[in-house]
């Protein structure tokens, strides 16, 4: 029995060490090759999820880059921001999407649930430090381990195709043409009822927001919260009281640019939570004016 256990453990340990070595080699190589550099004239960026991703048309905003991506929680934003700041010291203003859903518990799940680990980890693994890996391992060990083969395949694919521009693969303005709001209002809505996950307070996501803000301060960036336009009957608004409380109590020092109630026609929305290209145009022109006034440029 002892011999059996010894040999089996030996076999498994060697596999573990091999996997770890391959992982470290791939990560080191990708770290070395990765490009996070933005154009030198980019001085303002926005981070966040699909709301800013579809709202900020950065071709209409001067010296501005949209670095948001669908479903991105602050955990992944924090990892991305570290690389972006390291490679782009010219950035002065950082806009962080801070909306109702970002303070909700559902956002925690969007860090480490099966679906999100499977989606995000292969992209971000190269930039994660030990504590970030340990956090995911603690939260969802099964999924993290199950995602490793996919992660390595993606990384090898990236090396093979020499696709090292991470800005394009982790962010960018999303141009949406469709407008489904009216049909949604006529069919699904108001049947949509928020689950508890949308009403209770996030813990992990907000912790990483605090880390993100600390990082911005450390890198001497001006931080703003921004709440992108949201349709008036969006069920995300159900936690409005909680949202306001958190803003007031946890982040009182940060300016919130609140566009949630911006007057936007129905056909400018894709659905209840996202603008389409028309809405993005209207919003981006307006935001650009504000930004230029603020920075004193015209």
């Amino acid at each position: 029995m002892k011999l059996f256990l010894k040999k089996t453990i030996q076999f498994i340990v060697i596999i573990g060490i091999s996997i770890l070595s391959v992982s470290m080699t791939l990560n080191m190589y990708l770290n070395k090759k990765a490009r996070f550099a933005l154009d030198k004239n980019i001085t303002s960026v926005v981070f966040g999820h699909s709301h800013p991703e579809t709202a900020f048309n950065d071709s209409l905003i001067v010296n501005f880059k949209n670095l948001a991506q669908s479903g991105e929680s602050y955990f992944y934003t924090y990892i991305k921001a570290k690389q972006v700041f390291k490679n782009n010291p010219q950035i002065e203003n950082v806009f962080i999407e801070f909306s109702n859903i970002d303070v909700a518990k559902v956002r925690d799940k969007q860090i480490w649930s099966d679906k999100y680990i499977n989606w995000r980890y292969p992209i971000y693994a190269s930039w994660m430090n030990i504590s970030e890996n340990a956090f995911l391992l603690y939260k969802n060990p099964k999924s993290l381990i199950a995602t490793l083969p996919k992660t390595y395949k993606k990384q090898v694919e990236r090396i093979k195709t020499k696709h090292h521009n991470y800005i394009t693969s982790t962010s960018g303005y999303l141009y949406i043409t469709e407008s489904k709001l009216d049909s949604l209002l006529n069919t699904n809505y108001p049947k949509e009822k928020p689950e508890d996950l949308y009403l209770t307070k996030s813990t992990d996501n907000l912790d990483y927001l605090k880390k993100l803000i600390s990082l911005c301060y450390k890198e001497s960036k001006q931080v703003y919260f921004v709440r992108s336009p949201l349709y008036k009957d969006s069920f995300y608004r159900a936690n409005e009281t909680l949202f306001q409380e958190i803003k007031k109590e946890v982040f009182p020092e940060i300016t919130l640019l609140d566009y949630a109630n911006l007057d936007v026609p129905n056909d400018h929305f894709r659905d209840l939570h996202h603008l389409n290209y028309k809405g993005a145009k209207k919003f981006s022109i307006m935001f650009n004016q504000w930004l230029q006034q603020k920075t004193g440029k015209q």
Partner: protein
């Protein structure tokens, strides 16, 4: 709990260590431990259905006890009937209720009498087809006085619920497995190492071969009208490998896991795609089910005795019932009937027991004749698999019709080069190991240890590299 999940990767070593280090002193404790962990294993999927296993266990245990004391034939028959009614009753309700209801409604509507009966939303308990057949075999064997009924309820419960083969077989006979629960198990190094090797090969079959074939099979079958005939052929061939890798892979993991705990289960697949005719194929495919039907259905019906008409009837019954066992769908019934048809020429010419030995048993390669026979048998089984995989009969017929098109001479629209290489590598090892219980049993044992270990590492890397998340086993649904 799936064998190819992280849950099982954690579960197995814990159970293994507790089994050999904590419960090894006492046989009863060891058996009780196996019952508990088997129930945890099953309950991981849905604990509510544990009551079904427990009930089935109790019923067959009590009936077994009563059969020992009862001498009157009539009463013994009633007791056996009760066991059959309970076990098949569960199976019939959970698996076939809605099928019969749908067909009943359809039949009435054909006669112009539409009826409306509400279908039930029934969840099929995982593995019910397997463990009901296992417990049934116990009652029937006790009734036939081929087996001494057990007094040990714990051992019997462990036999019914033994976790490695609980949800997808092999369907073990009480005559083989139950006595193993009576004897103290001592750790056997060679058996355990062999078990690990078989688990490794099973994982490769499932995670590398079956799961990667599944991707292309699903694409082709789900969008079959869009593909050329050659692509449809490719889809059917890949499904043949998918179902083999999936099910025989599960069996390998089950048998290998049992060996880690000191148990020997019977071989369930014996390289069926190297068969030279359909009769040989059915002696090599899902052996535990085929022999179950042979012993408890085919032989009682008269088997190969009696007139040719009776023999033909028996063959059709056994194949159709076997098809129906797989699922409550006409596609499975047609699949079974088609295999019976394939069998007919062999039966009518008394050639159904021509190929008992392994192909090319004394040579490295098959002869030209054998190669042609293997190829033809594979084509026939693959054609039948189309019914097995298709959504319904119409889909299967359309799929087959679309194969008979001039585009069969074109290049397939999908060309999974990596998968072809994997299949080639897989088939070579299967061919080299065809004389054994599983391909890897003796493969490489004569090599120097570092080379052999390196080979196992390569297999692990292949499994790691080609694995896909969330792929369940096809046979769980049966």
């Amino acid at each position: 709990m799936l064998f190819n999940s992280i849950d099982f990767a954690i579960f197995l070593p814990i159970v293994f260590l507790l089994y050999w280090f904590v419960t090894n002193k006492n046989l009863k404790l060891q058996n009780a431990f196996l019952v508990v962990v088997s129930y945890i294993f099953y309950g991981w999927w849905d604990w509510r259905f544990l009551s079904l296993i427990a009930f089935s266990t109790l019923v067959d245990y009590v009936i077994g006890r009563l059969l020992t004391t009862e001498n009157k034939d009539k009463k013994r028959k009633v007791l056996l009937g009760l066991s059959i009614a309970v076990n098949l009753g569960f199976l019939g309700f959970f698996k076939y209720y809605n099928f019969f209801l749908d067909n009943f409604i359809q039949a009435f509507s054909w006669f112009g009498t539409p009826i409306s009966v509400r279908a039930l939303s029934i969840v099929l308990p995982v593995g019910i087809s397997f463990y009901t057949f296992q417990t049934l075999s116990y009652s029937i064997d006790v009734y036939r006085k081929k087996l001494e009924p057990t007094k040990d309820l714990i051992a019997f419960a462990a036999f019914v619920s033994f976790f490695p083969q609980l949800v997808a077989g092999p369907i073990e006979r009480a005559t083989n497995l139950l006595p193993q629960f009576y004897k103290k198990r001592n750790f056997n190094y060679s058996l355990a190492v062999d078990g690990l090797r078989q688990i490794l090969w099973g994982l490769l079959k499932k995670m590398v071969i079956a799961d990667n074939c599944a991707v292309f099979v699903n694409t082709i079958f789900d969008n079959s009208p869009e593909y050329s005939a050659s692509t449809l052929v490719l889809g059917a061939v890949l499904f043949a490998f998918q179902i083999y890798g999936d099910f025989s892979g599960y069996s390998d993991i089950a048998i290998g896991t049992s060996r880690l705990f000191g148990f020997n289960l019977k071989q369930n697949f014996a390289f069926p795609y190297f068969s030279r005719d359909i009769a040989e194929f059915w002696r090599r495919w899902h052996i535990s089910l085929s022999t179950w039907f042979r012993d408890y259905l085919y032989i009682p019906l008269g088997g190969s005795r009696g007139s040719k008409v009776q023999q033909i009837r028996n063959v059709f019954i056994i194949f159709i019932v076997s098809g129906f066992w797989h699922g409550a769908n006409w596609t499975f019934i047609v699949w079974g009937a088609l295999n019976a048809l394939y069998f007919m020429p062999l039966l009518l010419t008394n050639n159904n027991r021509n190929h008992i030995d392994v192909v090319a048993i004394k040579s490295r390669f098959p002869s030209v004749k054998e190669s042609v026979q293997i190829f033809v048998t594979f084509i026939l089984t693959t054609l039948a698999w189309i019914f097995f995989r298709a959504e319904n009969i119409r889909h299967a017929l359309q799929y087959i019709k679309d194969i008979f098109d001039l585009s069969i001479f074109s290049m397939p629209q999908i060309r999974p080069t990596n998968l072809f290489m994997l299949l080639f590598f897989f088939l070579i090892i299967e061919w080299l190991g065809r004389r054994n219980q599983y391909a890897l049993e003796t493969f490489g044992l004569k090599w120097k240890r570092p080379i052999r270990i390196m080979f196992y590492y390569i297999l692990v890397i292949l499994i790691f590299w080609f694995s896909r998340n969330d792929q369940t086993f096809i046979y769980f649904q049966f």
